[in-house]
């Protein structure tokens, strides 16, 4: 466990008790995420990638092992507002404008009016939505709504950004564009990002570290440190290195499935 580790899990286990018996959602997860990492979690449904993100966020309770976030328990980290969380659906309130939606966490956290307005402008600019603050969510496209929800998660400037398939509901072209924007945003803000996806190109394109997971029980099949440079134009997806990493991710996913 190095000094700049932000999230550290050891022998983490989570067993859900359901009516059909117990489900081993996470089994012996060992993982360290360092400051400034962009970590993707990829795997088929039921592999526990979302569950792991929710454990980090203190939205699920592990049943065994240890996990620390910023050197604290997940609960302490959540209460210290250590992370911003982006869900698959934007979850914007229809009765608030885009600016009003971004202010929601700021109001709850007790920021001054002046500070709220300042931060709204800042994060709108970060997600390239300047000038859309007065619009209502229904006036924006799906991609823009999702960007607004990222702005909302960034508004209180937490060091960690947790994203649960944020672009899963969007089409390929919009998705490429948002991936590019997300990389630029990550470079500017130097946040630590945990990103759940089921798209191999998306995971390889975005990440410095790719965690391949497999289901029943949910566990880590492979952890890949990306050899790609930090500067990544979209064309990098045709490079030899990119395709090699993608092939390794695919192998990891296949190995997980063979166990069935």
């Amino acid at each position: 466990m190095s000094d700049n580790s932000v999230i550290h899990a050891e022998k983490l286990n989570l067993v859900f008790q359901t009516n059909d018996g117990s489900v081993h959602a996470l089994k012996d997860i060992d993982l360290t995420i360092n400051k400034g990492d962009f970590v993707s979690f990829i795997g088929p449904s039921g592999c526990g990638k979302t569950t792991f993100l929710r454990v980090i966020a203190d939205l699920e309770q592990p049943t065994g092992g240890t996990i620390s976030v910023n050197g604290m328990t997940p609960q302490q980290a959540r209460e210290a507002r250590a992370y911003g969380y982006v869900f698959q659906a934007s979850g914007l309130y229809p009765w608030r404008t885009i600016a009003g939606n971004i202010k929601l966490p700021l109001e709850i956290m007790g920021y001054s009016m002046e500070e709220q307005n300042k931060r709204v402008e800042q994060v709108l600019e970060l997600v390239e939505l300047s000038g859309f603050g007065k619009k209502y969510p229904w006036q924006l496209s799906g991609g823009m709504q999702q960007r607004a929800s990222i702005a909302r998660a960034l508004s209180f400037d937490a060091d960690i950004l947790l994203m649960d398939e944020p672009f899963g509901a969007l089409d390929e072209i919009v998705r490429d564009h948002l991936n590019e924007q997300l990389l630029a945003l990550w470079a500017r803000t130097e946040k630590t990002i945990g990103f759940v996806t089921h798209s191999i190109p998306e995971a390889v394109y975005l990440s410095t570290k790719i965690v391949v997971m497999s289901p029943r029980p949910g566990r880590i099949a492979d952890v890949i440190e990306s050899p790609l440079p930090k500067e990544r134009p979209l064309e990098i997806r045709d490079s030899k290195e990119f395709l090699e990493v993608a092939a390794r991710v695919r192998d990891g996913l296949r190995a997980g499935h063979l166990d069935d």
Binding site: A57, D58, L59, R78, E79, R81, Y83, G84, Y85, F87, A89, G91, Y93, P94, W95, L104, P105, E107, I108, M109, Y136, P137, W138
Partner: protein, 288 residues
């Protein structure tokens, strides 16, 4: 628009025709009896004419009711004890007060039920049980008991309205306050929002469509409650009193005009809530 108007007018016309037919059938016997007693014979057209103009018909014809309503609204001073507007005003005041108290009680109960499992388990059954008691049996007791402790006039009647109107609001708002999905509640949790913040910023705004639907039902229930509350007060004033007085003296025309007035009053009140609902939900972006 034109098509709708034609459909509406057709239905109204059909109701009026059926009403006239029923009035003729039900009032015919009295006319025939009268003629028999007088030893005269009457033609069908004479019978029909008479059934439309009896003083105490079994079922008054529509125009009789309309004339009566006209006479007791437009042609009477509002301060007169025989003015329907005066009586409707009395009923409206206890309806409004009862509706207000009932809605507040319903919303308060719903908030506590949503936030406390103990309340959910302990209070909800009583709320449902309260509505299985026939209000006609309870109303006189409420009036008498409150009178014994020195409360009379508007408040006891409003209490009966409240008793009927809090229920739809409580049940509707429990559903409304639980309308936000897990994701939205999780999001509030990631902000470390307090229960109050979640209530005011998420649960209450999300519950608005449910609130207005419940309020419409509560308004109608309040009016019924107010009328029932006026029955055991010795038939002094209000639409309920007009109904009771009418039935004492066999004044069917008076009964029917009070009934129609109550229906019109209810329709107007519910429509007002509907307008408020449209404006609010549109402004909140929940109607698109």
């Amino acid at each position: 628009m034109m098509k709708n108007l034609i459909a509406v007018l057709t239905v109204v016309f059909a109701i009026i025709v059926i009403w006239y037919g029923a009035a003729y059938m039900m009032n015919k016997q009295w006319t025939l009896d009268q003629a028999e007693r007088a030893g005269t014979t009457v033609t069908t057209s004479e019978v029909f004419k008479d059934t439309m103009a009896q003083e105490r018909p079994q079922l008054p014809a529509p125009h009789q009711v309309i004339t009566e309503i006209w006479k007791t609204t437009v042609e009477k001073k509002i301060t007169s004890k025989r003015s329907l507007i005066y009586h409707a005003g009395i009923t409206l005041s206890s309806t409004s007060l009862g509706f207000l108290m009932g809605s507040l009680l319903g919303i308060t109960l719903a908030i506590s039920i949503v936030h406390s499992r103990a309340m959910d388990l302990s209070v909800m059954p009583w709320i449902i049980a309260s509505q299985t008691i026939p209000i006609l049996a309870v109303a006189p007791m409420i009036i008498v008991v409150l009178n014994a402790v020195g409360i009379s006039g508007l408040v006891p009647k409003a209490m009966i309205s409240m008793y009927l109107s809090f229920f739809p609001v409580a049940v509707g708002m429990v559903k409304g306050l639980r309308a936000p999905d897990t994701m939205q509640l999780d999001l509030m949790k990631t902000y470390r929002a307090s229960a109050w913040q979640t209530l005011f910023k998420l649960r209450l705004p999300s519950s608005m469509p449910y609130l207005f639907t419940s309020l419409k039902i509560a308004m109608a229930a309040s009016l019924v409650g107010a009328i029932i509350g006026e029955l055991p007060t010795g038939a002094v004033a209000g639409l309920g009193a007009r109904l009771l007085a009418g039935s004492y003296y066999g004044q069917t025309i008076q009964i029917w005009s009070a009934l129609i007035s109550a229906a019109v009053l209810a329709a107007v009140l519910v429509m007002l809530i509907g307008v408020l609902q449209n404006v609010t939900l549109k402004r909140m972006g929940m109607l698109r």
